[in-house]
């Protein structure tokens, strides 16, 4: 009897220890990363300021406002639409920490789907965090999920019906914010979050919107910009400049029959000119090998090198990978060229900013040994 009690007690203690450790970790991932806004940030708001219904929920997110000394156009940068696509998140953070607006106003939301940062995808083996050495020391950033946390929105339907169009998608897409635009004030939590973004655009009169993404190397729309037809002229002029700068990128029109995405619905339902950009992220791909923080930051993966040789990929891939500096640099240079093209076409409302590294500075001129986080860290506080 005594022996059984001892065995049971040991098992109970072990179970409690596991529950304690995992429970602590479970709660910790809900804490947002510490951001260190630079002097360019003139005001901090919340998404719930534009749609109070999401206040106090995991759909709410910080909006950094960067107002220039001179009036001009208004631009919105959406990072972290998908929390497992780090270059969009880190490009938005770099903007907040290093950018300085001269003319116009820039709004930056680093965690557009905030709920997606509070968990990651089961069976993917994704790291919970990755660390970058910055000017202020090592900083941890969350690697999350493509979708909102099921704890925030559950259960998923078998079929997700996009409210505005009637488009039918698989049930899990109901938690993908980039399938829920233009959103609904009385919809799911994710629909409310996208509705809040739309409210921000309408309330502030945002002229130009960027949605920053990544894609797996075997996905056809990669190293690409997708533009709503209203933004196509800006996109093609900006793209020409990107090509002149040696940045290979393709331009895709936003399909009229694919609903719920920023590049379609924000163009259809608001006056903003929406553009979506994609870079190459091995850590979310299906052909990847060992999945860890190193893969997230360097993109070095022998499985993808082999896949490239077999002709399976839509981006070049060799032993140098696709480091985070290349991916963030593409986003930042893209925003720069497209906003410049916008300012040229709409000279009455220009958007001018400085302080951000170019693709050349961030990636091409970098010491190869510093790629994979260290070089990017020089622009983070």
């Amino acid at each position: 009897m005594n022996k059984q009690i001892i065995t049971a007690s040991v098992c109970l203690l072990a179970a409690l220890s596991v529950a304690g450790i995992t429970g602590k970790n479970f709660m910790e991932v809900k804490k947002p990363d510490e951001l260190r806004p630079g002097p360019g940030v003139t005001q901090t708001k919340m998404l719930s300021d534009y749609f109070p219904d999401i206040a106090g929920t995991n759909a709410d997110s910080t909006v950094y406002v960067m107002e220039g000394e001179q009036p001009g156009g208004k631009m919105l940068v959406l990072g972290g639409t998908h929390a497992n696509e780090p270059s969009g998140y880190l490009a938005a953070i770099t903007f907040v920490e290093s950018g300085k607006v001269e003319q116009g106003t820039v709004f930056v939301i680093p965690r557009t789907c905030n709920s997606g940062f509070t968990h990651n995808d089961p069976q993917e083996g994704s790291p919970q965090y990755y660390t970058i050495q910055t000017k202020g020391g090592p900083r941890q950033f969350r690697y999350g999920s493509r979708a909102a946390n099921p704890l925030d929105q559950w259960p998923d339907p078998d079929v997700y019906v996009h409210a505005a169009s009637g488009q039918r998608l698989s049930g899990s897409e109901t938690r993908n914010i980039n399938r829920t635009y233009p959103g609904r004030p009385d919809g799911t939590l994710t629909e409310k979050a996208s509705y809040a973004v739309r409210q921000l655009i309408d309330t502030e009169g945002v002229n130009l919107t960027f949605d920053l993404h990544e894609a797996s190397p075997e996905y056809p729309v990669i190293n690409a910009t997708v533009a709503h037809e209203t933004a196509m002229s800006i996109a093609s002029n900006g793209m020409f400049e990107l090509q002149m700068a040696g940045i290979a990128m393709s331009l895709e029109p936003s399909p009229t029959n694919l609903h719920g995405l920023t590049h379609r619905e924000l163009g259809d339902y608001t006056d903003t000119l929406p553009l979506l950009m994609e870079t190459a992220n091995a850590s979310q791909g299906r052909l990847r090998g060992k999945t860890n923080a190193d893969l997230v930051l360097t993109g070095k993966d022998k499985c993808y090198v082999k896949a490239q040789k077999l002709g399976f990929l839509y981006v070049p891939y060799d032993e140098t990978g696709h480091p985070i500096e290349e991916r963030v640099g593409r986003h930042l240079q893209g925003i720069y060229e497209y906003s410049k093209a916008y300012s040229a076409q709409y000279p009455e409302s220009p958007i001018v900013y400085n302080g951000l590294p170019s693709y050349q500075e961030l990636f091409l001129d970098a010491d190869p040994s510093e790629l994979g986080g260290t070089q990017l860290g020089k622009y983070l506080n």
């Binding site: 069976q123 075997e218 996905y219 056809p220 729309v221 190293n223 690409a224 997708v226 533009a227 037809e229 196509m232 002229s233 996109a235 093609s236 002029n237 793209m239 020409f240 090509q243 002149m244 040696g246 290979a248 393709s250 331009l251 895709e252 029109p253 936003s254 399909p255 009229t256 029959n257 694919l258 299906r286 052909l287 077999l310 002709g311 399976f312 990929l313 839509y314």
Partner: protein, 212 residues
Amino acid sequence: MMKKKLAALGLALMLTVSLAACGGGSSAPASSAAPAAPAASEPAGGGEVKGLEGPIAESPILLTSVGQSADVEMVKVMMDKGGLSPETNSLATEADLGDSKTLVLAIGGSSKGLGAAGIDANQELDRVNKLIAAADEKGLTIIALHIGGEARRGDLSDKFVAPSFEKADYAIVVADGNKDGLMSDLASKAGIPMDEVATMADVVEPLKAAFK
């Protein structure tokens, strides 16, 4: 007892294998959807392809897409920057030729673009074939441009390449898109000059030079 242990071990192994099988999901890429792997750098036909030696084209210019990719927008920007102001119509038909003297074809398939236009690849091919035939009959100069490189190769885009080259008078291609020599071969067969450039940004100069 040993039998029970072996049975339990066997069941555990089966469970492990079944769980691993669940992890792959249905999103693994089909190799057929991927772009064609480079096969050769020489024209398959073995014929020699020369560059353009002098200007052949005149304004007015009609610019259209072949495959509905946004490359047509890029070509428009290039032509505008080169001082050639084309009339642009991604879905141009023979009725749109008007008094045009040159037809410029921006080749590149895009499923997103076809979706945006509300047509499929076969309808696009039908439109383009009729347009090219009408332009050829009217004596227009036809210039084929493939500027999208490797990203505009593969099953969809390749459907649009040959019809664009058949009656063209000149072609400009970005080298990455011609690694297998497909376009060199088509230009050779059509007996037309073709210039291969390194990047999209390099298209402007030969394109400008093609106009009188």
